[in-house]
């Protein structure tokens, strides 16, 4: 049994306390300004392209030092300033009361306070603003996207959501896996016998892995990222890596999108550059590599125009400038063909778990 390293990691409880104190600080500052007849303002790190830089040391995109001021003095910003103040106020309630909310919920909730967002993109943007102000992901605000991915394996968690506080649960009890939702995201990770986390791009393969008892054979926790991993999923992967000390490996389709899914789990995405709790810098991309396509004689389909354009785009990204990442992009570009994870089924349904996975895990020890 691998026990959680409490001294090292931030627990859910401490993170909550830190957040609530930041919110209170913001509140006090606004309150005092108003009382003194001064215009309160928020300082928001700038998310403009020119302020997003790749930090090689922590191996993820981060925001530079530029920041913007959202001031209630400026009439054209007054509305969005108030929206941001409202969101801080609303998040404070959510976190204190242990309630969760979705992006869509936020959009509708605002209407009860005569804060009208024109549309959901506007409220989504304000949420990102608050993330930047407080440098915390929205999941800590108890705000979740609609899309959810799932997890399965021997992992015991302890709920912190109201009504379930202290209740424990093992994530191998239900073969369909567990939704990575608000309650799981805010749960404490208690212990696990697993030695590995396998993130897999597709729900179909996730089910196959459970059926094939990959979790037992490889002592693994299996995470379905459902395509590009949602932030709550990336946050969980990070915690499994950080708090439980488990290595993370990634299996995705053999195409440029698959490669980038692995990259985002490893080092984040540009549009979450204002956040630092979402990456697993040591995660390993197992496949499917472009070179695997030939090596394993996988059936392929031709790339589309947009696949090819995407390769060119990624070639400009600093993270793709060297090593295997660079090489695989080049091979994809040369092949102009791609292979899905399901392609292994050509050699039998269990081929991927029996042959490919062990081979790649073996190979991964050397990179």
């Amino acid at each position: 049994m691998r026990l959680k390293n409490k001294s090292n990691a931030k627990t859910a409880e401490t993170r909550k306390k830190r957040l609530l104190s930041m919110l209170e600080q913001q509140g006090l500052s606004i309150y005092e300004n108003l009382d003194k007849g001064k215009f309160p303002q928020f300082v928001i790190p700038s998310r403009s392209v020119s302020n997003i830089v790749y930090d090689k040391k922590i191996r993820q995109y981060i925001l530079g030092s530029a920041s913007a001021v959202r001031s209630s003095r400026n009439m054209s910003q007054l509305r969005s300033y108030t929206q941001l103040a409202w969101l801080a106020f609303f998040v404070n309630r959510l976190v204190r009361e242990g309630k969760s909310s979705t992006l869509r919920d936020i959009y509708y909730s605002s209407q009860a306070f005569s804060i009208d967002f024109e549309d959901q993109p506007e409220s989504d943007n304000i949420i990102v603003d608050l993330e930047a102000v407080l440098t915390s992901p929205r999941e800590e605000f108890h705000i979740f996207p609609e899309e959810r991915s799932s997890v399965f394996g021997d992992l015991t968690i302890e709920y912190t959501v109201p009504g379930y506080e202290g209740k424990r649960m093992n994530l191998s009890d239900h073969p369909d896996g567990y939704l990575i939702g608000p309650s799981l995201s805010s749960a404490e990770l208690v212990d696990t016998s697993a030695e590995l986390v396998i993130a897999i791009e597709k729900g179909g393969l996730f089910t196959r892995f459970v059926e094939e008892k990959v979790h037992q054979k490889f002592k693994a926790i299996i995470v379905d990222t459902a395509g590009q991993a949602p932030r709550s999923t990336r946050n969980l992967l990070r915690r499994l890596n950080n708090e439980m000390g488990l290595p993370v490996v990634i299996l995705a389709d053999g195409d440029v999108y698959g490669e980038h899914i692995a990259m985002v789990i490893k080092s984040g995405s540009a549009n979450a550059a204002h956040l630092r709790e979402l990456t697993v810098p040591d995660a390993k991309w197992l496949g499917v590599w472009a070179t695997d396509i030939e090596k394993y004689k996988l059936p392929t389909i031709p790339m589309t125009e947009s696949d090819i354009k995407r390769i060119y785009d990624l070639q400009k990204d600093p993270r793709y400038q060297e090593g295997n990442w660079k090489k695989q992009l080049e091979v994809f570009l040369k092949l102009k063909r791609k292979a899905e994870l399901e392609a292994f089924s050509k050699y039998g349904l269990t081929n991927i778990t029996d042959k490919y996975l062990p081979a790649k895990l073996e190979e991964s020890k050397s990179f």
Partner: protein
């Protein structure tokens, strides 16, 4: 068109030859044109006598069940001066009878409009026209007439007289029309006519019985136009020729009637000797008329009395060779008599035959030409100032006409023949019609193109009840709305060339422009008289007027903008600051809200941030 032409063709032939020109090309257009002709006649008549117009227009289907095109009864009633009973058959039953031929601004022009409408009705329905008129405020004459174009005279079917108490005229015809198609244009016409005639009260009852009433907005009539002489820039060779051959430059025909006139003016009862006649004439010279003077001068050279005068025929008066040639019926032979320049009567004869000197002709027959200008002109045109205009050859006439066009020192035409509406009535009309948030009007000074004076007046209105559907232009010429052929009009050209963004006007603004051009001759592009051609002089005036008004609008817009902004600020801060306070109070874990009133006040006051 001369009378001889009419006498040879049938009414329908006459009508069909002129129908397009006069606007009677189809039942839709004809109904619209007929409405216009009668309404405009009524307005012209009231304008002329300074009567505030009260016009009732009604269109009723003869058989409402029938489909269009069908027969309609069109009636226009006014409170104008009416027409003397003896003139009614002439005015409505003949072509080219009109009282508006003089050089002044009027809606109707050629004495054709009403008659064409009546003729159209008669041809399409075979029904007579009914005219009721009261011109003395005591008796009302009703005529029911059919037109006989061959004789250019009406056939009166019925004439009755009864008592009345008010002057006015009602004309009613039956005609084939298509109201389903013409209706919207007619309603527009009535609406726009009311806008440009704010001193009139106009009621229109449509075939469905719906009434459109436009009440009088102003009680003052605009100054009426006066009839004036032509401006030298505005005439051509043909006009000059007509002016020269005017009757009083000709030797009058010496018939019995003329002889009676001479006797009457001299106060003669019995026959006198030539010498006695001349003596009598000398005494009264300044009182007697020009033709009579001429006859007496001739008698002096021929040395004859009235009896002798009756026996001869003057054949030629040759001033150059100083001879008068006449035919003696009694002797059946021709005689020549010397025209001695020493005689006191020589000048009378010479000037009659050869007309005035060029100098006199210019100063007497044209507007804005005094002796000094006339002399300068003669120098410019290389004519002797004492050149007799009757002695000019064809080539000289062409040269004269040409020089009249080119000479630049004539003062600009006299605009007193124009009748713009005036800034105040125009502005009141616009306020009443559009109830705008902002309006401005401007009447430009008179200007001229090719010798025709014109005045541009324009109004602009913004916001208020005007729907935000984009710019709408109302075009008028001589107080007539121009509704057709918008595309190629000079006013629209100017409006479209304007960069509205420069005047703080964007998108589909609630904006109305009213443009009125008054002139003795509007340069219409087509015979349909619906769009004005782009003469540079007119274009310039329109442009100046529009720019001036647009600038005023821009000032209003920025003033309005600043006021709106301040109001918006105040609203925003009073809405949001209390909310911010509420959120901050809970976030900070406080019980009592901060005192934010000062901030609301400051927010409302500070200048807009860049």
């Amino acid at each position: 068109m001369s009378k001889e032409v009419f006498s040879q063709i049938s009414p329908s032939e006459f009508f069909y030859r002129n129908r397009d020109l006069a606007g009677f090309s189809n039942p839709t257009r004809s109904l619209y044109t007929s409405v216009r002709e009668f309404v405009e006649n009524a307005l012209d008549a009231c304008d002329h006598r300074k009567i505030l117009p009260d016009i009732h227009l009604s269109i009723k289907a003869v058989d409402p069940e029938q489909a269009d095109p069908k027969h309609y009864i069109l009636t226009v009633k006014d409170n104008g001066p009416g027409i003397d009973p003896e003139h009614i058959p002439l005015a409505f039953g003949t072509v080219l009878y009109g009282s508006k031929f003089g050089l002044k601004q009027a809606r109707g022009m050629f004495g054709l409009g009403a008659t064409m409408a009546i003729l159209y009705g008669q041809i399409t329905t075979n029904k007579p026209v009914t005219v009721k008129s009261c011109s003395d405020g005591k008796s009302l004459d009703e005529f029911v007439m059919l037109l006989d174009i061959q004789k250019n005279k009406p056939v009166i079917q019925k004439h009755t007289t009864k008592e009345a108490s008010k002057t006015g005229l009602t004309v009613s015809i039956v005609l084939e029309g298509d109201y389903s198609k013409a209706g919207s244009k007619i309603r527009d016409y009535v609406y726009q006519t009311s806008l440009i005639t704010p001193y009139a009260s106009i009621t229109f009852e449509d075939p469905a019985g719906e009434k459109f009433h436009y009440a009088r907005i102003v009680k003052d009539m605009p100054r009426p136009p006066t009839v004036i002489k032509p401006h030298p820039h505005g005439i051509d060779v043909e006009t000059i020729r007509r002016m020269i051959t005017d009757t009083h430059y000709q030797i009058p025909a010496i018939d019995n009637k003329m002889i009676d006139k001479v006797k009457k003016e001299l106060g003669l009862k019995k026959n006198l000797s030539p010498k006695e006649i001349l003596e009598r004439a000398q005494k009264r010279w300044s009182d007697i008329s020009k033709p009579v003077r001429t006859v007496i001068s001739v008698m002096s050279f021929l040395n004859i009395d009235f009896e002798g005068l009756q026996k001869i025929r003057i054949d030629d008066i040759d001033v150059a060779n100083k001879t008068i040639t006449y035919w003696d019926f009694g002797e059946s032979q021709s005689h020549a008599v010397e025209l001695s320049p020493d005689s006191p009567y020589y000048k009378q004869i010479a000037s009659t035959v050869q007309g005035d000197t060029l100098l006199t002709f210019l100063t007497k027959r044209f507007q804005r030409v005094g002796p000094t200008t006339a002399e300068k002109f003669c120098e410019f045109a290389k004519f002797k100032p004492d050149k007799r205009i009757g002695s000019m050859t064809n080539e000289e006439l062409v040269k004269l006409a040409d020089a009249l066009q080119k000479f630049e020192e004539f003062l600009s035409p006299d605009p007193s023949c124009l009748a713009p509406l005036g800034e105040e009535p125009l502005s009141k009309g616009i306020m009443k019609f559009f109830n705008p948030e902002f309006a401005a009007v401007w009447q430009r000074n008179a200007s001229a193109y090719s010798g025709f004076p014109f005045v541009v007046e324009m109004g602009i209105a913004y916001g208020g009840d005007i729907p935000p559907n984009g710019l709408k232009v109302y075009r008028f010429a001589n107080r007539i709305p121009l509704l057709y052929d918008e595309g190629s009009d000079v006013v629209l050209k100017i409006v479209n060339e304007t960069e509205w963004a420069r005047y703080k006007i964007k998108g589909d603004p609630p904006l109305v422009i009213v443009s009125h051009i008054c002139s003795t001759r509007i340069p219409y592009k087509t015979v349909g008289k619906e769009n004005v051609a782009d003469r540079p002089e007119i274009e310039r005036e329109l442009k100046n007027a529009l720019q001036y008004l647009a600038r005023k609008l821009a000032v209003h817009m920025s003033r309005q903008g600043a006021a709106d902004m301040a109001k918006k600020r105040a609203n925003l801060y009073s809405k949001y600051v209390p909310l911010i306070a509420q959120f901050a109070t809970e976030l900070a874990g406080k019980k009592k809200e901060p005192n934010y009133n000062q901030l609301i006040r400051m927010g409302s006051e500070i200048e807009e941030q860049v």
